[in-house]
């Protein structure tokens, strides 16, 4: 079976700021991701995730209404998202937030503002994580 690559990723970008969603989309598109959807809040993201199997969700922590952290916790409680990578993208740079996010099941954590170089590093990490998950799944099958 061939390894999963960047161009295979289906991405969802969730942030209440339109310009942040556009920045992330622009950068990950230039990295080779072609399937990219956007959501402005958790309700919209949840609805989109019901109709599409995303491999990676770029998720803001602080948003009006439900927080991204809350959504992450909920998704990690559902087996259908076991192979979905969640990358928290937040302006919160304090260690306690990063630790909390990783404990809740985030695959990685990016501090805003985002740049293409930082996203490249994290997208590479996501692809490696997905490949590991797929290998584990094959071994246990």
């Amino acid at each position: 079976m061939t390894a999963f690559s960047v161009s295979d990723l289906k991405a969802l970008v969730v942030d209440d700021h339109m310009i942040v969603r556009c920045d992330i989309e622009r950068h990950i598109k230039s990295l080779g991701i072609t399937h990219i959807d956007q959501a402005a809040n958790v309700a919209e993201a949840t609805s989109k995730m019901g109709g599409m199997e995303y491999n990676v969700v770029f998720l803001d922590w602080n948003m009006p209404g439900r927080s991204g952290y809350n959504m992450l916790e909920q998704c990690r409680g559902e087996a259908k998202y076991d192979n979905t990578a969640f990358v928290i993208v937040s302006a919160e740079s304090e260690d306690r937030y990063i630790i909390e996010a990783l404990k809740a099941g985030a695959t990685s954590y990016i501090v805003k503002p985002v740049s293409e170089n930082i996203l490249r590093e994290h997208v590479t990490r996501v692809v490696a994580w997905i490949n590991e998950r797929m290998q584990e799944t094959r071994q246990t099958a």
């Binding site: 700021h17 310009i19 602080n62 302006a91 304090e94 503002p113 985002v114 740049s115």
Partner: protein, 172 residues
């Protein structure tokens, strides 16, 4: 209240201003590839015309407030929006895009200051940034203010960005 690290509002104001200066220039560079330079205090009389404003507050219970008001030259944000988000600029009202930019910048700068202060022993939380000017009517026992001005380097435009910082400590 007792401030950690033996801070006074005056000393706090000094290093908060320093962080804001660096955070604003860094954010413009990373987000928009645009150079703005901290030039010190605003010069001349500030006009609210042709400006887009946002604000954000850090609070530690009822004891400490650190408020930030950001004022951006609307022309500068329009130009950046047209260059950086051309597709959105064709579909979404320019004012809406610029207000989103103003709040996104406030979010990054406010979070940067919060992280620094909490690293010094404070326990501040930050609200979600909003458009417009902050309600500065306070009944503080002690207050400090400062204003920073930024020049847009490519255009040579002074006061293209202004940030007002307002620190307020309430004694028990």
């Amino acid at each position: 209240m007792t401030t950690p690290a033996a801070d006074t509002l005056e000393s706090m104001n000094t290093y908060v201003s320093d962080i804001v200066g660096k955070a604003v220039t860094g954010t413009f560079d990373t987000m928009f590839g645009r150079e703005v330079a901290h030039t010190g205090k605003p010069t001349g009389q500030a006009s609210r015309d042709g400006q887009i404003s946002s604000h954000v507050s850090l609070t530690q219970g009822a004891a400490l407030n650190v408020d930030f008001s950001f004022h951006f030259d609307a022309g500068l944000l329009h130009r950046i929006a047209e260059e950086t988000y051309p597709e959105q600029a064709r579909k979404i009202p320019m004012q809406m895009i610029c207000e989103d930019m103003a709040c996104a910048i406030a979010n990054v700068v406010g979070s940067r200051v919060k992280a620094f202060l909490n690293g010094r022993g404070y326990d501040l939380s930050m609200d979600i940034p909003a458009v417009g000017e902050i309600d500065a009517a306070r009944d503080a026992a002690k207050q400090e203010h400062s204003s920073l001005s930024f020049r847009c380097v490519p255009e040579g435009q002074d006061n293209a960005v202004r940030v007002n910082i307002h620190l307020q400590e309430k004694r028990a």
